[in-house]
Amino acid sequence: MIGRRLLDSKPLCGALGAAGLFCVLEATGRTGLISPIVFPLASTVLGRAVELATDADFLLDVVSTLGAWALGLLLTVVIAVPAGFVLGTLPRAETALRPILEFLRPIPSLALIPLALALFSDKFDMKITLIVYAATWPVLMNTLYGLKDVDPLAKETLRSFGFGPLSVLWRVSLPSTAPFVATGVRLASAIALIVAISVELLAGGSDGIGVFLIEVGGSPDAMVYIIATAIWAGVIGLVSDSLFVLAERRIFRWHTARTEVV
């Protein structure tokens, strides 16, 4: 009975899952299934991760990366959501721009770094640009698919009261697409973090998690550092996602109340 109650707690379940994974990884290292030279022991990595938490340089780097991440994500939403609405509601704009978008979309942001390095004199601007570039796609796609999912009768209702296309967009399409958009933003948030770190790593700079990775990259045990850093990246992702979900629950109660698993 108490066991059941405990299993209702998400943090606890998550912790159990993480502990299980840790044990499996540690065991593969200890039993020699994977040599610790090839991939470090889980305990070594965890120890290093804890050390990093007290490393002032590292913390400054984290703050710097998070700053770029937040700004990039904000800009992404500001750009991608309206763009999605324009493309989703103006078929002409969509057909005209589709070839270019579909061509740009798969170009890896990381492959663009060399070109971006040549284009931007400021590393921060470049980082933000690449984040926005990469994070835009999931938000845009989810917005477009969300728009297709709007109940036509809801739109007709508003139209029948004489509201114009813009009002229909604002009062029906937007709210009913919002849960799709939110999922897109959640996807984009992780991608933004990944791009921020990768750009720092590939383009260098004076601070950021990626620059920290360069600094430790010369070390023979760089892999321990890298994986410990990856753990922090994961933790940041986990925390930010939880916050997103919390916000979604509040904002989209109308949506979940009608649908969610009981």
Partner: protein, 304 residues
């Protein structure tokens, strides 16, 4: 960024630009830059130098030609490649030069490969394709009657190479310090060959470059920078302790104990066209360059 702040020309020393952003790799090669910064040699010349960490020479060069860096540390192979692609780099300071056993080809503990001649058909890890690693390994292969077509080069970061050797993913790895020391200690790897011998003996490795445009517009700034680096190079060249001290401050990976035992290259105190020409010539010989490049044309000044 580097292109901001066209600072007043009316400052004391008459420098065109007093603030410089320079790219540097967290490896022993750049020790002098950090020493110059720490000991105030730049400041003495009226310069404020912002050292940006970069991951590799190629990216640093893109930053340089793109304008986000005023100057950067880079290896010479990359520099000549960039020049042959039509870029206009100017080498303004020499930083690092190979010594015996500073860049070795390593094999696993119980490897059956006993001589470079055994490498036929094998896989060799280098940190960057088409660069010093492939150049120097190819020259070693040549002396043993093989060519670069006889082996397969794979690109891996230095820290990963130990694992690749252990896993058997590669048969040999071209490594430098501090990884050489670590790989011997951790997995008992064996030295197969020193790659800095014969045509690559005392091979020039790395220096500082700016764009031609920058050099033309800022001659006094460049001269001031050269003086400060030369002063730091002198210290590095003569005082190993100074290098050992500075290393842990900018590379998270090399602690004091490691710094004390690793094999370091030398820190040349002058910029010499004849020495650098060896790099270009070897590249031409191995087909990395399509046509001859005069190293002299890339040099700026002869102070060092």
């Amino acid at each position: 960024g580097g292109s901001d702040a066209k600072t007043d020309t009316a400052n004391a020393s008459g420098l065109e630009k007093t603030k410089i952003t320079i790219g540097a790799l967290p490896i022993p090669d750049s020790a002098a830059l950090y020493i110059a910064n720490k000991r105030g040699f730049f400041k003495k010349e009226g310069l404020t130098v912002d050292i940006q960490v970069v991951q590799g020479g190629a990216q640093a060069q893109q930053g340089l030609f793109g304008g986000s860096l005023d100057a950067t540390q880079t290896n010479y192979v990359s520099t000549f490649l960039a020049a042959s692609a039509g870029n206009k780099p100017k080498i303004i300071s020499d930083l690092y030069q190979a010594t015996p056993n500073s860049f070795n080809l390593m094999v696993a503990k119980d490897s059956s490969i006993k001589s470079p001649a055994d490498l036929k058909g094998k896989k060799i890890a280098v940190n960057s394709l088409r660069n010093i690693g492939t150049l120097s390994v190819t020259s070693v292969l040549k002396t043993h009657g093989l060519t670069d077509k006889d082996v397969e080069f794979l690109e891996f970061p230095f820290p990963d190479m130990a694992g690749k050797l252990e896993q058997g993913v590669v048969d040999a790895a071209w490594m430098t310090e501090p990884h050489l020391t670590a790989v011997q200690k951790n997995i008992g790897a064996q030295k197969l060959a020193d790659t800095m011998v014969d045509s690559t003996a005392d091979f020039p490795i790395a220096g500082v470059i700016v764009t031609e445009d920058f050099a033309n517009k800022n001659p006094k700034t460049v001269a001031a920078f050269q003086r400060a680096v030369a002063e730091a190079q002198k210290i590095s060249a003569s005082d190993r302790k100074a290098v050992e001290e500075i290393l842990p401050t900018y590379t998270k990976g090399i602690d004091a104990a490691t710094a004390a035992v690793i094999t370091l290259g030398t820190f040349p105190t002058s910029l010499d066209a004849t020495r650098l020409q060896r790099v270009a010539d070897l590249m031409l010989e191995q087909g990395m360059l399509k046509s001859k490049i005069e190293a002299k044309s890339l040099l700026l000044g002869n102070s060092g």
